[in-house]
């Protein structure tokens, strides 16, 4: 394929206007010894039909699962048809970052609406236009807390998503901050006593997640109190965003920052990306948070309009003094999230309830299997951990039936041997779940 519209006449006329005899002359600044004659090891071009054939064949090398039983950071949810239609409008998806507000009111207003819905859902006052994903949102919140407090230690719950902790580790190492991990107690919640012991005036922030990686809902308020008592801040993550449709959000329990993965809101699984990092905070942090912010203002006739605002926080103005380097975010994914949330409206609560029904059903069915036991007793949303006689054998059986099995917790928690983390969303029918139990049996 070739998307250049130039005819040979065009090229000749343009060369003449420029005053060169050949295209090659335009590349004269590249030292001759570094000039390529030909791109090495590259395939030849393909027609559109050939391209589609090639890519269809590649996509078919994946096995499309009949059922997906894992969540652990990404969640299979039904996406209403309107989401794809809106996000597929070229006015939105072929635009760049809205630097020119007068011709970008569409995306700016949509993002302002997204920010408003996210702040409400998370129980905070403000939210930004999105971060890369849940993990980087959490890491950036921690870096922000350390940078602005001149404290250098981050305390993180071991029950936070293992990959999120790895990202946190990378960002903290790069900035010279240290991390302490806090264990969980027998019921799956954070060990509050251990957290208290870990706190001192070197701690910039406590990082927790609710529901946590095991699916357990945490009691946020005492953590916020403990953090604030020692001058630290509380960063609370979440797992599946739809849980916010029914659970009391961390922002309403005193958390300073609520961060997490927004993929559940109208974005396909896409094998891990693009997703969007939800970043919400108390109003007092407005001038310090990273990322783009759409803000309302008026034009010179007093008409409401929207702009990218508080840009003096950002890298392109503050350069080396910025607390974050984020530039592009995940605007189109945030647009999808906004459309999704507006489409669901109060039905997000019903959807969350349905997730709970499905989860309770699957959990109870699996617990009837011989040798299967509940690992944690704390309440859960749509994920739960069960110990079974042979976790690997269970997933192998499921895989043979084209089912993506549960997340094997032993990978990240050596003490949780033969322990599987299941996820049940509205995408699982009763028949699916009955069949899963039959296969495992």
């Amino acid at each position: 394929m070739d998307y250049c519209p130039h005819t040979s006449d065009d090229i000749a006329q343009m060369q003449e206007a420029i005053g060169v005899g050949s295209i090659e002359e335009l590349f004269a600044d590249i030292p001759q010894k570094f000039r390529l004659k030909q791109m090495p090891d590259m395939p030849a071009s393909l027609s559109e039909q050939e391209t589609l054939g090639l890519m269809q064949a590649m996509s078919r090398k994946n096995i499309m699962p009949r059922v997906t039983l894992t969540g652990a950071g990404a969640y299979a949810h039904f996406i209403p048809a309107v989401v794809g239609h809106i996000v597929g409008r070229a006015e939105f998806y072929t635009a760049y970052t809205p630097y020119q507000a007068e011709i970008s009111q569409g995306v700016l207003q949509a993002i302002y609406e997204y920010q408003t819905m996210i702040a409400h859902l998370t129980g905070t006052e403000i939210a930004n236009a999105s971060m890369y994903d849940g993990a980087s949102a959490m890491a950036e919140a921690a870096v922000l807390c350390a940078k602005t407090s001149n404290r250098s230690r981050i305390v993180v719950a071991r029950s936070v998503h293992p990959q999120y902790r790895q990202v946190l580790q990378t960002y903290c190492w790069a900035n010279g901050y240290t991390i302490s991990e806090i264990p969980y107690v027998a019921n799956g919640q954070l060990d509050v006593a251990a957290m208290q012991r870990a706190l001192d005036d070197s701690v910039a922030a406590i990082v927790v997640q609710s529901p946590n990686f095991f699916g357990c809902i945490e009691d946020i308020a005492p953590m916020a109190d403990a953090a604030h008592a020692c001058g630290a801040l509380l960063i609370a993550g979440f797992t599946d965003g739809t849980s916010l449709g029914i659970l009391k959000p961390a922002g309403a329990c005193g958390a300073d920052f609520v961060v997490g993965e927004g993929q559940s809101f109208g974005n396909p699984l896409n094998y891990g990306g693009p997703y969007l990092g939800v970043f919400a905070a108390r109003e007092k942090f407005l001038r310090r948070i990273p990322g783009r912010l759409a803000g309302a203002t008026v034009d010179k006739n007093g008409k409401r309009g929207f702009v990218l605002t508080l840009q003096t926080r950002e890298q392109h103005i503050r350069r080396e003094k910025a607390t974050s380097n984020i530039c592009s975010n995940e605007a189109l994914c945030a647009l999808a999230a906004g459309v999704y949330l507006a489409a669901l409206g109060k039905n997000l609560g019903k959807l969350a309830a349905l997730n709970i029904y499905k989860t309770q059903y699957l959990k109870n069915k699996l617990l009837q299997l011989e040798g299967w036991k509940e690992v944690f007793s704390a309440p859960v949303y749509n994920e739960f951990a069960l110990r079974c006689p042979n976790a690997r054998a269970v997933n192998a059986k499921l895989r043979a039936e084209g089912i993506i099995g549960a997340y094997d917790l032993q990978k990240d928690y050596p003490e949780l041997d033969n322990t599987l983390l299941f996820c049940a969303t509205e995408m699982l029918s009763k028949d699916d779940m009955d069949r899963v139990v039959e296969i495992i049996k």
């Binding site: 998307y3 065009d10 420029i18 060169v20 335009l26 590349f27 600044d29 590249i30 030292p31 390529l36 791109m39 590259m42 395939p43 391209t51 090639l54 996509s59 090398k61 309107v82 070229a90 939105f92 635009a95 760049y96 020119q100 007068e102 970008s104 569409g106 207003q109 302002y112 609406e113 920010q115 939210a127 990202v167 960002y171 790069a174 309403a252 396909p268 094998y271 891990g272 990306g273 008026v298 702009v307 508080l310 840009q311 890298q315 392109h316 103005i317 503050r318 974050s324 380097n325 592009s328 975010n329 605007a331 459309v339 409206g345 109060k346 039905n347 029904y357 309440p379 949303y381 779940m433």
Partner: protein, 480 residues
């Protein structure tokens, strides 16, 4: 326009939820009252209202499909539709990232091939596809530089950054704990070699260089620059934002770059979505391969698998593997264009930029008058002096002519900068019409400056009060 919240009416909804096919449980019993939220105040709108709301919003937005978008350094080329169709194939969209590798062989092969293709195009030893955007790639690249010196036991606290650099460069350096020192440009817009010589010591970890730089100029002394940096044991970092200028013409790896980050949403035609998603792969030379983020794809013919067993890695920079669906689009683009198509894309991009430069030269100041690469940078100085019309006014007036304005006030070393990047997918007719508009505005600035200062006149809102937005921030709507 009304906000979605202002359209809301209790009792309406768009998306319904299926009835439960499993027993309904009492939520308070299984969760506990204390963990449940008190209210859920999301918009309540019917599907037709929702669709009209967002469709009307989209009509207040400008994208490449609507018209010319010469936003410098952003490479707003046409986004081929076939790439969207491919990326929407259920085999690519439907797979969970925790699926075991058996399920994902197609995805793994695609990502592995993509790494190899990028390595060939850019002359690097290896690529990671994990970073989510260009700036994320910069951060990843600088982290690898930090790790490289850490593992050698060397303390090198400084990174050099030219005065023409993108703002993300110094921010990325600072976020990895480096002090940044600004390297001056010389009179012809390149690196000031003497200044580099004086700054480059064994305290310096490296130089972050954009080549071609943000003036659209290729660094003629690149060999000498690389030699100076390397002679003191430093590393040369390449910001690949401007990679559209040299595909098939030269390779950063051959020029001496040790790290380069790309922006797939610029060079490889994936749509930018109004601010993302992007994708920021990072390529490295042999010396840095061990520090790449994990997990990495390992090929064990004929299958592929993920592996995290690389002890020297910097770790992870995000969850899962990268903006996979964006990578699918870029891979499709590279395969469909192939070696001839990519080379022609670069040639036409550079031809287009030079054509605009020549046509506008009589009407706007051109601070660096030499052959440019994929973009050219003018200054609005003459217009300011003549009639007080600023570059920002010229930009706003272009909107009335149906164009997205160029990048303005960047690079910082050019006062009143106007940075024009036409890209290769624009025809001579489009460029001629755009230049006619720029010339008409230059004329208007002389004859009727107020008209230019009042622009835009054709948009749903006129110039917005940014000072008010910053002084009294309103980033979330509150119920009246």
């Amino acid at each position: 326009m009304e906000l979605i919240f202002e359209l809301s009416k209790p009792g309406r909804s768009t998306a319904d939820v299926s009835a439960s096919d499993v027993p309904v449980v009492n939520i308070e019993d299984v969760i506990g009252r204390q963990y449940l939220r008190d209210d859920l105040d999301l918009p309540e709108v019917a599907e037709i209202d929702l669709v009209r709301h967002y469709t009307n919003l989209s009509r207040r937005n400008f994208g490449v499909d609507l018209g010319f978008y010469p936003l410098g350094s952003c490479t707003m080329k046409y986004n081929p539709k076939i790439n969207e169709n491919v990326a929407a194939l259920p085999g690519f969209t439907g797979l969970h990232p925790n699926a075991s590798d058996e399920f994902a062989q197609g995805n793994l092969q695609l990502m592995y091939d993509m790494q190899k293709l990028l390595s060939s195009i850019f002359g690097m030893a290896e690529f990671t596809l994990q970073p989510a955007a260009g700036a994320h790639g910069e951060l990843t690249g600088v982290m690898m530089i930090k790790k490289y010196f850490e593992s050698k036991g060397q303390k090198r606290p400084i990174i050099l950054i030219p005065d023409t650099a993108h703002g993300t460069n110094p921010a990325s350096g600072a976020l990895c704990g480096f002090d940044t020192i600004t390297l001056r440009s010389n009179a012809e817009g390149g690196v000031d070699i003497e200044h580099l010589n004086s700054l480059m010591t064994e305290d310096v970890a490296g130089l972050m260089l954009t080549n071609p730089n943000t003036l659209g100029l290729f660094e003629r002394n690149i060999e000498q620059v690389a030699q100076i940096v390397h002679s003191k044991g430093g590393l040369l970092y390449g910001d690949g934002a401007n990679a559209n200028a040299f595909l098939g013409k030269t390779r950063p790896g051959d020029l001496g770059f040790d790290v380069i980050q790309l922006n797939l949403h610029k060079t490889f035609a994936t749509p930018h979505g109004g601010g993302g998603p992007g994708s920021g792969p990072v390529g490295v030379s042999e010396a840095l391969v061990n520090y790449l983020p994990v997990p990495r794809i390992v090929k064990n013919d004929p299958t592929y698998s993920w592996s995290a067993s690389f002890p020297d890695t910097i770790g992870r920079v995000r969850a899962f593997y990268g903006n996979f669906n964006v990578i699918v689009k870029a891979y499709t683009y590279i395969r469909s264009l192939g070696t001839e198509g990519l080379t022609r894309a670069t040639e036409m991009a550079v031809l287009n930029a030079n054509y605009i430069k020549e046509k506008l030269k009589p009407y706007y100041d051109l601070p660096y008058d030499r052959v440019c690469m994929h973009e050219c940078v003018f200054s609005g100085n003459r217009q300011v002096a003549q009639s007080g019309v600023h570059t920002s006014d010229i930009a706003k007036r272009l909107i009335d002519f149906g164009y997205h304005p160029p990048t303005i006030y960047f690079p910082l070393i050019v006062p009143e900068a106007i940075m024009i990047e036409p890209t290769e997918t624009e025809s001579k007719e489009t460029l001629d019409a755009f230049c006619d508009a720029m010339i008409a505005i230059a004329q208007e600035a002389k004859e009727n400056p107020q008209r230019v200062k009042d622009a835009p006149l054709s948009t749903p809102v006129s110039r917005l009060d940014e000072v008010l937005a910053a002084r009294k921030p309103d980033v979330c709507w509150k119920k009246p």
